[in-house]
C-alpha cells in the first residue's frame, strides 16, 4: 500500500520485507532515500540506519524511520542512529511530505554513483562489525574523558600518550593549548629533533614555548611518513587547543579518524587540568598536610616581621627537615612518605601555639615562625619537637616507620628582611645534618653556631597565648587550624 502510494507520487520504489535484503540493495545501488520500520524482527531500523550511515556509498542517503507510536524513546533512538526523520505509521501524508523534503535536501551528488562491495559480506556480519566499531569508539571516548582526573597538563599528556600509542602506531603525537600555554610531544627517543621540529610546525608553536617531552619506544621510529593530521580540541564554543598525529605509512585514514574522535573528547579533561593547576597555584594550603603552603607563609611573614619591628618583639624561625626522607620513600613507598609528612604536620600543629605560624616549606621541609619568642625559647620548642618526633609512632602497613629530623633555629634581627633570617635557620639546619642528624642547631650571634646539649641559657618565659593584635588584616589560614593546646614550656 505504501508502495502504491509512493508510485502514485512519481517515485520509483524497490521494496522488501527482509531488512538484510534491503540493506544489501541499498548498499549495492544507493537509492535516493530509504524508508524503514524502526523495530523489525531480525535487524532493527536503527541498526540498518547506522549501517548505511557508516558506509560511504549510503552515508548521504536520507533514511526515514517509521514507528508505532509517538514514544519519545523511539524518536530519541531514531535520531541517534542518524535517521533523517521519524514518522508515525499510518501518517501517510506526513511520510510523503517528509520524503519529498528529505530528498530535496540531500546533498546533490551530481549523478555520481557508487557500487561498492555489496553482497560479498553477509549483512548481519557487516552490521555486527559496525556495531563493534561504534562500541569501540565509545570506549575510546570514555577513556579520553576519564583523563579529567589528571590534575595537570603534564600528567594528562603522559596518560594520553599511553592511551593513543596503544591504539595506533605513530611517529609522534603532540598536544598544545592556548591558555594556559602548554605544549607536549611524544616521540621515539631517537627522533627527538625531527619530531619536535615537525610538531612545532604543525601546531604553530615557536621555539620559545616550553615543552613537555615524552620520549619512549611506544612511538615508532620511522623518519618519514604522511603529513601530520591536526584537529582542533573544542570546548563548547571555544577551541582550547590542538591535537596532532604524525602517522606511519599506510595508516593515515585510521589516524585521521582517531585524531578526530579523541580531539572531540579532550576538551573536558584539558579544561579540568587547567582549572586544577590554577586552583593549586592560588591555594594557600598545602593539600597533603593542611599547613600553609610556602606562598601564603611568606605573605604572612611580612606581617609578622612588621609587627616584630613595630612592637620590638622577638621572633624566631625554626626550619625542620626530615632525616633520610628519600630513603623512606624508596624503601617504603610514596604512600608511606606521604603519611610521614602528614603526621609531622599534625605534630607541628599540636605543639605550636595559635600565634605561631607553621608551613610546609618544601618536599620534606617545614618552617615555623614563633612570635614573641627569642632564640633561647625557640631552641626549647625546637628540642621539644625533635624529641616528640623521635618518639612518634608512625605505622604503615603494620610496620613502624622511625622518623627523626634535623632542625635549625635562627632569630630575627631588627629591620631585616625574611631572606637572611631563613638563610641562617637553613645553615643551622645543615649543621645539624652534618653533625649526625636528629638534633637542633641554633644560629647564634655573629655566625657562631651554638649546638644543642646543655648550653641552654636561663629559661626565658615564653608568653602564653595573648589576644592577637592585628597589625593589619592578613591571611590567618593556619591559625584557625592550629590546635591551641599549648602546654606551658616551663613547669616553673
Amino acid at each position: 500500500m505504501l508502495v502504491r502510494r509512493l508510485n502514485a507520487q512519481g517515485y520509483l520504489v524497490d521494496a522488501t520485507t527482509d531488512a538484510a535484503m534491503g540493506a544489501d540493495m541499498a548498499l549495492t545501488a544507493p537509492p535516493a532515500a530509504m524508508i524503514a520500520d524502526l523495530w523489525m524482527p531480525s535487524i532493527s531500523g536503527v541498526q540498518l540506519c547506522r549501517l548505511l550511515r557508516a558506509e560511504p556509498a549510503t552515508a548521504e542517503v536520507p533514511v526515514i524511520l517509521r514507528g508505532e507510536d509517538d514514544d519519545p524513546k523511539s524518536r530519541f533512538w531514531a535520531e541517534r542512529a542518524g535517521a533523517t526523520a521519524y514518522v508515525r505509521k499510518g501518517r501517510m501524508g506526513e511520510l510523503v511530505r517528509t520524503l519529498a523534503t528529505a530528498i530535496e535536501r540531500a546533498s546533490d551528488n551530481e549523478g555520481f554513483f557508487m557500487q561498492l562491495s555489496g553482497g560479498s559480506l553477509d549483512i548481519r556480519d557487516r552490521i555486527a562489525r559496525h556495531l563493534d566499531a561504534a562500541l569501540f569508539d565509545s570506549v575510546i571516548a570514555a577513556e579520553v574523558r576519564a583523563l579529567a582526573t589528571c590534575g595537570s597538563f603534564e600528567r594528562l599528556f603522559d596518560q594520553l600518550s599511553q592511551l593513543l600509542s596503544q591504539l595506533l602506531g605513530y611517529r609522534w603525537m603532540a598536544l598544545s593549548t592556548t591558555s594556559p600555554p602548554c605544549f607536549g610531544v611524544h616521540h621515539h627517543p631517537h627522533c627527538d629533533e625531527v619530531a619536535e621540529r615537525e610538531a612545532r610546525a604543525a601546531l604553530g608553536r615557536s621555539g620559545q614555548t616550553a615543552l613537555t617531552r615524552i620520549a619512549d619506544e611506544d612511538a615508532r621510529e620511522e623518519p618519514e611518513g604522511p603529513e601530520p593530521i591536526v584537529c582542533d580540541v573544542p570546548f563548547g564554543n571555544l577551541v582550547l587547543g590542538r591535537l596532532a598525529l604524525a602517522p606511519v605509512c599506510g595508516s593515515d585514514e585510521e589516524a585521521a579518524r582517531l585524531n578526530r574522535l579523541v580531539a572531540r573528547e579532550l576538551g573536558g579533561p584539558l579544561k579540568m587540568a587547567a582549572l586544577v593547576d590554577e586552583q593549586q597555584r592560588l591555594a594557600m594550603v598545602d593539600p597533603l598536610t593542611g599547613l600553609m603552603n610556602r606562598r601564603s607563609f611568606l605573605t604572612q611573614m611580612k606581617v609578622e616581621l612588621a609587627r616584630s619591628t613595630r612592637y620590638r618583639l622577638p621572633l624566631s624561625v625554626i626550619l625542620l627537615d626530615i632525616d633520610h626522607f628519600k630513603a623512606i620513600n624508596d624503601a617504603r613507598g610514596h604512600a608511606a612518605g606521604d603519611l610521614v609528612l602528614t603526621r609531622v604536620g599534625e605534630l607541628l600543629r599540636g605543639i605550636l601555639r595559635v600565634s605561631d605560624v607553621s608551613a610546609r616549606w618544601g618536599g620534606e621541609e617545614f618552617v615555623m615562625a614563633l612570635t614573641n619568642t627569642d632564640e633561647a625559647g625557640a631552641y626549647i620548642v625546637a628540642e621539644r619537637l625533635r624529641a616528640a618526633l623521635q618518639a612518634l609512632v608512625i605505622e604503615h602497613e603494620g610496620q613502624r616507620i622511625p622518623v627523626t629530623a634535623s632542625l635549625g633555629v635562627a632569630s630575627y634581627e631588627a629591620e631585616e628582611k625574611f631572606d637572611p633570617l631563613i638563610d641562617r635557620a637553613d645553615r643551622a639546619m645543615y649543621e645539624a645534618k652534618a653533625h649526625g642528624r636528629n638534633r637542633v642547631v641554633v644560629w647564634g650571634d655573629a655566625g657562631n653556631v651554638r649546638r644543642d646539649a646543655a648550653a641552654a641559657t636561663a629559661p626565658v618565659e615564653r608568653a602564653a597565648d595573648e589576644p592577637d593584635e592585628e597589625l593589619e588584616p592578613g591571611p590567618r589560614a593556619d591559625r584557625s587550624a592550629a590546635r591551641a593546646v599549648a602546654k606551658p614550656l616551663h613547669e616553673a
Partner: protein, 124 residues
C-alpha cells in the same frame, strides 16, 4: 558513438568487461595503463565512455582521470572507475576530478551495463 575505452593493466579484466560490453552492442577499445589510455582518448574522438582501473603501472587511473579532464574537450566524457580499491579518500578524489562513478570489483555485469547505458545516453 558507442565506443567504450577500457583501461586496466589486467588482460583478464579487459577481456571480462570487453565481453559484457560487446555482447550488449558496444564497440570496445583497450589500454593497459594510464599513459596509453590518455593517448587513446586524445587520438580517438569517437570514444564516448571510459572505464578506468586505479592501480596501474606508469600512470595510474586517478592520474589519468585528472589529466584527461584538464582538457576541456573531455569535460563531458563520462568516466567510471572500476577497481578493487574502496577507500573513501580515493573515491572523493575521483569525484572531485570529475568521474561519474566508482565500481568496486568484482563487478556485476547487469549493473555495469546499466551504468554505461545511462551515462552514454545522458552525454550523447
Amino acid at each position: 558513438m558507442k565506443r567504450v575505452l577500457v583501461v586496466d593493466d589486467s588482460p583478464t579484466v579487459r577481456q571480462q568487461v570487453g565481453t559484457v560490453l560487446r555482447d550488449a552492442g558496444f564497440d570496445v577499445v583497450e589500454a593497459s595503463d594510464g599513459a596509453e589510455g590518455t593517448s587513446k582518448v586524445a587520438a580517438d574522438p569517437d570514444i564516448g565512455m571510459v572505464i578506468l582501473d586505479v592501480n596501474m603501472p606508469r600512470v595510474n587511473g586517478l592520474e589519468m582521470l585528472e589529466t584527461i579532464k584538464q582538457d576541456s574537450r573531455n569535460a563531458a566524457l563520462p568516466v567510471v572507475m572500476l577497481t578493487s580499491e574502496g577507500q573513501l579518500s580515493l573515491i572523493e578524489r575521483a569525484k572531485r576530478a570529475g568521474a561519474k562513478g566508482w565500481i568496486v570489483k568484482p563487478f556485476k555485469a547487469e549493473l555495469l551495463l546499466a551504468a554505461v547505458r545511462k551515462l552514454m545516453a545522458t552525454s550523447a
